[in-house]
Symmetry: C2
Subunit: 458 residues, 2 copies
């Protein structure tokens, strides 16, 4: 079916769709590869002058104010704040220790939306599960009065697909443990590093279910607990843990999106939408997740503008509160539902190099796909038949059935750092960041000067 559609589309490409890309665009992208400073300037600035920007907090608000100022200073038009309300959860104390038979402290971080143990903590026997599947197989009620330890480990993958394999442990593991009676859940960090910097991130309990305390151990601590459980088991001894997690839900607070643009020559045409998120988890400074993404899209937009005012407006969405439930992306989709988007792209996978071009119009607009692919091949970006669905914050494009592109980044190092205290500026490789900006410049420049539809109606 797809092959047939391809042949058909190839015949009916209208003359108006011919490229009108400014002659200087490629040179601008090449120059970005060599010397872009804009992306670094953004991410260095926000991580240094603001730091962590947890959704719904005053720190996120400082991040918005900082970003608005930066955008205005860097030539962006119509810099606007679009506030919304959200449900906010705040980290409290967090401590874990094995009490018997091998007393020692463990390094833990509460998961977003974790329940509280109360100040006095919970002391209970630990039952270990080496995988999510083994927890699923545990009989109903079998975890009553126990702390479940879900020890499912994650492996490095370049494309980030390991997250789909390990992620459910965090997303729904604690709720699954609670459904079998567990008083608390500790998971092995969903991460690929070997440092004592646990990976936080949101977990989900069904509406109306009281959240149990849930935390992530760092990988070395999970390794150690796994060994302790085996040794305790060999002696017929029970392993007990004391857990103190005192996060709290503070109700509704204000968050917001920061929107800005490079105005096109024909503002009546649907814009090219570029998204990233301003909020970060509270443990790190939000350098790779996602200060870098905002820096990349802003730098690319500036480089495109420097090559000549684009035909279409380039709209930047610095979304708020992505980490805690895509509050910003959803608020944007609701507020702008009736404004068609030509094509949407998001940068939210760190700062390492772009290696593959995925779109959702590869089959239906092969001429454009080929033109884009040819234009970025010199940066080491390969083609793909993967159908892109876009990132979390460009929900509006999915709702409109519009075009989306994913510039896939190398995720080899990403889950070493994701949602940890180690998400700091020093982890960004300036050379890979510049390659990223160069690829984005080339792609956005072509799209913003494309008169015809990016994803033709099928």
């Amino acid at each position: 079916m797809r092959t047939l559609a391809l042949a058909l589309v190839a015949v009916i490409i209208p003359a108006a769709a011919a490229a009108e890309t400014p002659a200087g665009l490629a040179a601008q992208a090449d120059e970005a590869l060599k010397s872009d400073q804009t992306a670094w300037d953004f991410v260095e600035g926000i991580t240094t002058e603001v730091g962590p920007r947890q959704a719904g907090t005053e720190a996120e608000a400082r991040g918005r104010a900082w970003a608005q100022d930066w955008l205005s200073r860097n030539g962006f038009a119509r810099v606007m704040l679009e506030p919304y309300k959200m449900d906010t959860w705040l980290r409290g104390a967090e401590r874990a220790e094995v009490v018997t038979p091998f007393p020692q402290k463990l390094v833990i971080a509460a998961l977003g939306d974790s329940g509280s143990t109360g100040e006095g903590g919970i002391t209970a026997p630990v039952v270990g599960f080496s995988s999510y599947a083994k927890l699923e197989a545990a009989p109903a009620g079998s975890l009553k009065g126990k702390i479940a330890f879900i020890d499912h480990s994650m492996r490095v993958t370049q494309d980030g697909s390991g997250y789909a394999f390990a992620g459910p442990v965090r997303w729904t593991g604690p709720a699954l443990a609670a459904s079998k009676g567990a008083v608390a859940a500790v998971i092995r960090s969903v991460g690929t590093d070997d440092h004592r910097t646990p990976h936080t991130g949101g977990t989900t309990f069904a509406e109306g279910v009281k959240p149990i305390p849930a935390g992530a151990l760092s990988n070395p601590d999970a390794d150690n607990l796994e060994r302790m459980l085996a040794r305790a088991g060999a002696r017929g001894a029970e392993l007990t843990m004391k857990l103190v997690l005192t996060p709290r839900f503070v109700g509704q607070t204000e968050s917001g999106n920061v929107v800005s643009e490079i105005t096109g020559r024909d503002p009546s045409l649907p814009p090219v939408l570029l998204a990233c998120h301003l909020d970060s988890w509270d443990l790190g400074t939000g350098a790779i997740d996602d200060g870098a993404g905002c820096g990349i899209i802003a730098a690319a937009a500036r480089h495109v503008a420097a090559a000549g005012q684009p035909l279409r407006t380039i709209r930047l969405l610095f979304a708020g509160a992505e980490e805690t439930g895509v509050w910003g992306g959803n608020a944007y989709a609701a507020a702008h539902a009736k404004e068609p988007v030509a094509v949407a792209m998001e940068s939210d996978f760190g700062a390492d190099r772009v290696w593959r071009l995925d779109t959702n119009f590869t089959a239906t607009n092969p001429e454009l796909y080929k033109r884009l692919a040819n234009a970025v091949a010199r940066f080491g970006v390969s083609t793909s038949a993967v159908d892109a669905s876009g990132g979390a914050d460009i929900e509006i494009a999915r709702q409109q059935g519009g075009a989306v592109i994913e510039l896939q980044q190398d995720g080899t190092r990403y889950f070493d750092l994701h949602h940890t205290a180690d998400d700091t500026l020093d982890k960004i490789d300036p050379a890979q960041l510049r390659q990223n900006v160069a690829v984005w410049t080339q792609v956005v420049g072509i799209l913003a000067n494309e008169p015809g539809p990016i994803k033709p109606a099928e």
Copy 2:
């Protein structure tokens, strides 16, 4: 002079010094390279079943009991506990945050023997110094009411010599800052990693001087503070920090050494002394510092014994309280001052491969040096003209003017982990650990079967 002495000694080597090394020793060392499990068994066991073992605490006492049991189970004779009293310091709360102009938290760890800020903390302006030399150059009284930030950074060196360059920042930097009026000192971690796991370690204040609060920031936090200071300075703004460090001195507590041996055929001969330390800093589990060292020397002693009962006794000193002032090594030197030691060696530099053979008799006993060097060359160990002075816990050998050997280990990774929470079992490379055991087996086996003096009188 040294060349002349060499020639002379070569002539007078007595016939009795001829090698009597058991025929099976080399094969035993080769087998250790392939399959030693003893060193791993020790370090896995103590890090899992005991964990951190801070000097003078009940955790260190559990470490001693665990080690005594392990030694007895593994065939060591005369396993003895030698207790002593020591001054003990305990970590309390530790928090740092920039208050103005860029509010955000920083990750800090108190240095051993740091003073306390009190529960309420100290808030004061920060003055940065990019090196120890710059702090030295600060005028008297110029830090009154300030927090000094000593931002001297460390580089990786294979031989660990970077520690001599960066170490003084921790050892005496806070005292130097205090002498110029500082109310507290924060240093860049003396470490080579880029993780948010600060490096603790002892600092020193002169007798009678009241210790000021002193902590180490992780390297990414020090990078960030350095940028913040530059940006604040560019705006003419003062950077203020709030510091909460509440450690306390608890007076004298009990610590102890664990001593054991492989008894030689002629127990009247001075023994070969092998040392390591059982205590660790409290943040990590003491895997590379120094669980591995105890595992290595114990494994080597067992392999030597397996090749045939050695001529000399091999004595193992698992010292206590090395990290906080070599209390164990000094207690051993005092208690055993009158018992001559044939040669002393210490393993306290992680678990990576041995790459060089240093002794303090290379010139005075060249025949033995050559024999040792030839015997370990197959493991990739090179010769050296460096005069070994031995590790901290073999003070007894220095006091006796006796022979010492240093099997130099690859320190490339050591200061990524040293004194951090990241000092955990997973950082040990089993293959390099086995190489270590093989080299120690070969060297200790030769020494323990050497009838003549190791270091002849000069």
